[in-house]
Amino acid sequence: MAYSDLIRERFRHPRYRGSLERPDAAFEDVNPLCGDRIRIECRVEDGRLADARHHGDSCAICVASADVLLERAIGEPVELASRLTTADLLERLEADVRASRLRCVSLPLTVLQSALDGKEVAR
């Protein structure tokens, strides 16, 4: 079952969707499989991820994944926020996601990591 209650809830009512006024770091990327696009904006203070928001055009699994990712990462040191894994997210999503949709879970993770690494968005 791909859609846990938690995924449905976070898709309907994401807690961290939006933008930051003056982000220190931001990155966006596309899932080549489906064309999903997600952008994550971050504010870093004293080596910690002080705040972050996500937005874009993506599926329920990707939105929910971004939401639980930011919930977990905000307030943490940047090194820890960058080291979260797909397995961490799957556990928080309480979902058995099929292999074909795993990239929907991991896309926000790689976008956050790229933002925190200071990568430029490819155009």
Partner: protein, 406 residues
């Protein structure tokens, strides 16, 4: 007499599968069709009885394999209405066929030459031309899509010029289903002195073809979308054009005589078939075109038009559903692309899968077209000979339940 629809279903073993507790409703034939027993048995029988390498094996199996492989070429020639067997080149699929042409023609391009594609092309009829233009300093132009999803033929006329070397266009759009005015495209392109390649990946499986009459210089398609195996496709090329092209891939079989520093190319069609070809694929493709031939492509097209009309009608009645592409089934191939308000296409496809319904979701390898419509992707239902009106009804019921399902 062979039948379309319900009467054909017993020929397709996979259709008896139960998926997620429901009978499989396979509406993804535009991505890849299912295979009738006749195709599966032809491939199996080839491997069990007749397999050997073709053309140079002077023993019984080698001769049988060669006969089967070359017999497949004759069957395909008849199916598409080509004038000669030398005009039928086997490839691994549509993509390889387009790359083959783009490379062979591409090496003759000069800076400032122009290639015209369309905004509705599948990436496989776009990227090879981007690459050819990039390598040679040529210019890529695109015919815009207008209205419900038609080519802007006036814009096309303006884009054509003495600099135009190739026009590459879909016969039938894999997303919109639009059947493009290929005869007019060929006529205008030839008047401008350009070659025409038509991507028939969504044409050959669904419409009667008479390629000699159509007049395109190249027409390409895949076996696996027309009841045949994966790994086999066809490049049809007009003989007089193929004869002017230098092959870009070398190897065995494509040569007549070889010295250490040069070689003489083989005759058509083998000049463009280096290496051991997909023999089993060709055998399976022959069985597929014979199966379609028995049904009759006019009947196949009429059956699929009926399903498309029913699908358009049923989906249009559902609140929150947006349909992309022409609404008139008479000018449309067997695909219906749509979205459900508030639902990402991938979520829609996953939810339909819970009812055993297989549809495609995403950008359908047509990102420029998605950008034209301002969307990330769509759901897409597509039909083949074995689909039925009852399946279209089940789809409509399931789509009705999608809104607010997440």
């Amino acid at each position: 007499m062979s039948q379309v629809g319900e009467g054909s279903r017993a020929d397709f073993p996979i259709l008896s599968r139960v998926v997620n507790g429901a009978p499989l409703i396979y509406l993804d034939s535009a991505a890849s069709s299912q295979k009738p027993r006749q195709v599966i048995e032809a491939v199996t029988s080839y491997y069990e009885r007749s397999h050997a390498n073709v053309h140079r094996s002077i023993h019984t199996l080698g001769e049988e394999a060669t006969e089967l492989y070359e017999g497949a070429r004759d069957a395909v020639r008849a199916f598409v209405g080509a004038r000669g067997r030398e005009e039928i080149i086997f490839t691994r699929g549509t993509t390889e066929a387009i790359n083959l042409v783009a490379q062979c023609v591409g090496r003759t391009l000069r800076p400032g030459d122009e290639i015209i594609v369309t905004e509705m092309e599948h990436h496989s009829n776009l990227i090879p031309w981007q690459m050819a233009c990039r390598d040679r300093g040529a210019v890529l132009k695109a015919v815009p899509v207008i209205g419900e999803g038609f080519l802007d033929m006036e814009a096309f006329a303006r884009l054509l010029s003495p600099c135009t070397r190739v026009v590459a266009a879909a016969h039938v759009s894999n997303v919109l289903g639009t059947i493009n005015p290929v005869v007019e495209i060929v006529r205008r392109s030839h008047e401008a002195g350009a070659l025409v390649l038509l991507d028939g990946a969504q044409g050959a499986p669904h419409l009667p073809l008479d390629l000699a009459a159509m007049g395109a210089d190249f027409y390409v398609f895949s076996g696996h979308k027309m009841l045949g195996p994966t790994g086999i496709g066809v490049l049809y090329g007009r003989r007089e054009i193929l004869e002017t092209l230098e092959p870009t891939w070398g190897g065995g079989e494509m040569i007549k005589e070889v010295w250490i520093d040069h070689a003489q190319w083989n005759d058509l069609p083998w000049r463009f078939e280096p290496g051991t070809p997909p023999i089993a694929g060709a055998v399976g493709l022959r069985a597929a075109v014979e199966y379609l031939g028995k049904l009759g492509m006019e009947r196949v097209a009429a059956h699929e038009r009926d399903l498309t009309a029913r699908c358009l009608d049923a989906l249009a009645r559902i609140d929150g559903v947006t349909i992309y592409g022409p609404r008139n089934p008479e000018i449309k191939g067997a695909v219906v692309a749509f979205n459900v308000e508030g639902l990402h296409p991938h979520d829609g496809a996953a939810l339909l899968d819970e009812h055993g319904i297989a549809v495609r979701a995403g950008h359908h390898c047509a990102q420029p077209l998605m950008k034209h419509f301002g969307i990330a992707g769509t759901l897409r239902a597509s039909f083949s000979v074995y689909n039925t009106p009852a399946e279209v009804e089940r789809l409509a019921e399931a789509v009705t339940g999608l809104r607010g399902a997440l």
